[in-house]
């Protein structure tokens, strides 16, 4: 096959790719850009009323107890959680929070983005001790990701359902991104090794920040135990109960 035939064949085959149907992107974008434009057509009276409301709100924020109440949040390590009632006060409902379309498996994607490594290579790379839950043995997948500090991710697959994850454990160094969870359905305060910990259950929009810029918001379904020891924030995601998650967290041991 000569070059031209090869190119023609490429063109012909590529046209047969079955793309997902294109979502209505224009509608979502219009929602975001319309409000700023509508101000141009606002009657003067309305502008004055809104200015007055704004001044009142600013005054309200100037009163220390009110400000404290509005800005209340729970912080564990680098993770900051705004309980739902507070979230309602400081942030309008996120109408356009995207729903999740399940993917077959995260593993190929993780491999493409981060690249899998081994436990020993990971331990050599990071400057903190990687811990393992003895009952689960070695993880099925190990990743180290440069997230302004080397973050380690360990993943254990469910032996009876190889496509689904049973447990994932993140080790997030202090200097890493700030991950903010906004208004999970359930938050329980608990302890891991006597230190305060949070058990958060979705759904909730998760925002991942990088260098003060919002990277993305996504609706999260899941349950996560978050706690800190030293400079490391641990994030254990599992479908197990909170008690079981705490038990796993407290059982963590250095790599044998």
């Amino acid at each position: 096959m000569n070059d031209i035939e090869f190119e023609n064949k490429l063109q012909a085959i590529s046209k047969g790719l079955d793309y997902p149907s294109t979502p209505d992107i224009s509608a979502s974008v219009m929602k975001k850009i319309r409000p700023s434009v509508s101000h141009r057509f606002m009657p003067k009276g309305l502008i004055w009323s809104l200015t007055l409301i704004l001044i009142l709100l600013i005054s309200l924020f100037a009163i220390p107890p009110v400000r404290a109440a509005i800005l209340e949040f729970i912080q564990i390590g680098i993770v900051r959680i705004f309980p739902q009632n507070v979230e309602a006060t400081i942030q309008p409902t996120i109408e356009s929070a995207p729903t999740i379309t399940p993917a077959p498996s995260m593993i190929p994607l993780l491999e493409a983005i981060i690249g899998e490594t081994t436990l020993s290579q990971a331990q050599e790379k990071v400057d903190y001790q990687i811990l393992l839950p003895p009952d689960f043995g070695e993880p099925d997948y190990v990743y180290v990701y440069d997230a302004a500090g080397d973050m380690t991710i360990l993943v254990w697959m469910n032996p009876s359902q190889p496509q689904s994850v049973e447990l994932s454990l993140h080790f997030i160094p202090e200097s890493s991104w700030a991950i903010t969870k906004m208004g999970p359905t359930i938050i329980e305060l608990t302890t891991v090794n006597g230190e305060q910990a949070i058990w958060a259950v979705g759904p909730y929009p998760l925002r991942v920040y990088n260098m003060d810029e919002i990277e993305f918001t996504r609706l999260i379904e899941g349950q996560v135990l978050i706690w800190t020891e030293g400079n490391i924030t641990y994030r254990l995601e599992t479908n197990l109960s909170m008690e079981e998650a705490v038990e796993i967290a407290e059982s963590l041991e250095p790599i044998p």
């Binding site: 992107i25 224009s26 974008v29 975001k32 999740i100 399940p102 996504r218 379904e221 995601e237």
Partner: protein, 186 residues
């Protein structure tokens, strides 16, 4: 209303002109993002971001140049950033915890037998630059001139890059995906 008129209106801040322009080009933008990222959710996020950025910078758009390559250029840069972004793996991780059997799974299995899907797999083994040029030229069927506009390089550079990318792809197909062109190589 024709595209040039809509662009002129949008440049002057008319948001109502932006909507039909988006509708006209959202499929190409979404598809390029999907090809580069391999995930429909990511592709949607980046496609939205593309149109938001384009709107915010529309005043700087040179109306003598073609519009679609400009959009695709923004999309391509954003997709490249997204491939390296922090959030991507978290989204993937989160989805993995959903217990329901994803329909996409079944669809993907069917697609895997599809030649186009096999070809896509082969292209994905190339580096980002090579992927980008092949997606633009063949998958999205852009002309050499349009591809040059997207990549902001001269047409001659597109041709030479394309030749190199095709050569690499040809070797990969012969080695790992021989079934793709089976019957044609003899």
């Amino acid at each position: 209303m024709d595209e040039n008129t809509l662009i002129r209106l949008a440049v002057h801040g008319d948001v109502t002109a932006w909507e039909p322009l988006m509708q006209q080009h959202q499929q190409a933008v979404f598809r390029l993002c999907y090809l580069l990222l391999g995930d429909p959710d990511d592709a949607e996020d980046v496609a939205q971001e593309t149109f938001l950025r384009a709107w915010n910078h529309i005043k700087r758009f040179d109306t003598t140049r073609p519009f679609r390559p400009w959009l695709l250029s923004i999309a391509s840069n954003l997709a490249s950033n997204r491939r390296r972004s922090a959030g991507r793996y978290l989204a993937a991780l989160t989805r993995a915890f959903q217990n329901e059997i994803p329909q996409a799974n079944l669809e993907e299995k069917n697609l895997q037998s599809n030649d186009a899907n096999e070809l896509w797999k082969a292209v994905k083994t190339l580096n980002f630059q090579d992927q980008q040029i092949i997606y633009l030229r063949y998958f999205l069927d852009l002309s050499v001139n349009e591809t040059a506009e997207v990549l902001e390089v001269p047409e001659g550079t597109v041709k030479s890059r394309l030749n190199r990318a095709i050569e690499k792809l040809r070797k990969i197909i012969q080695q790992d995906f021989p079934i793709l062109f089976e019957g044609h190589e003899a």
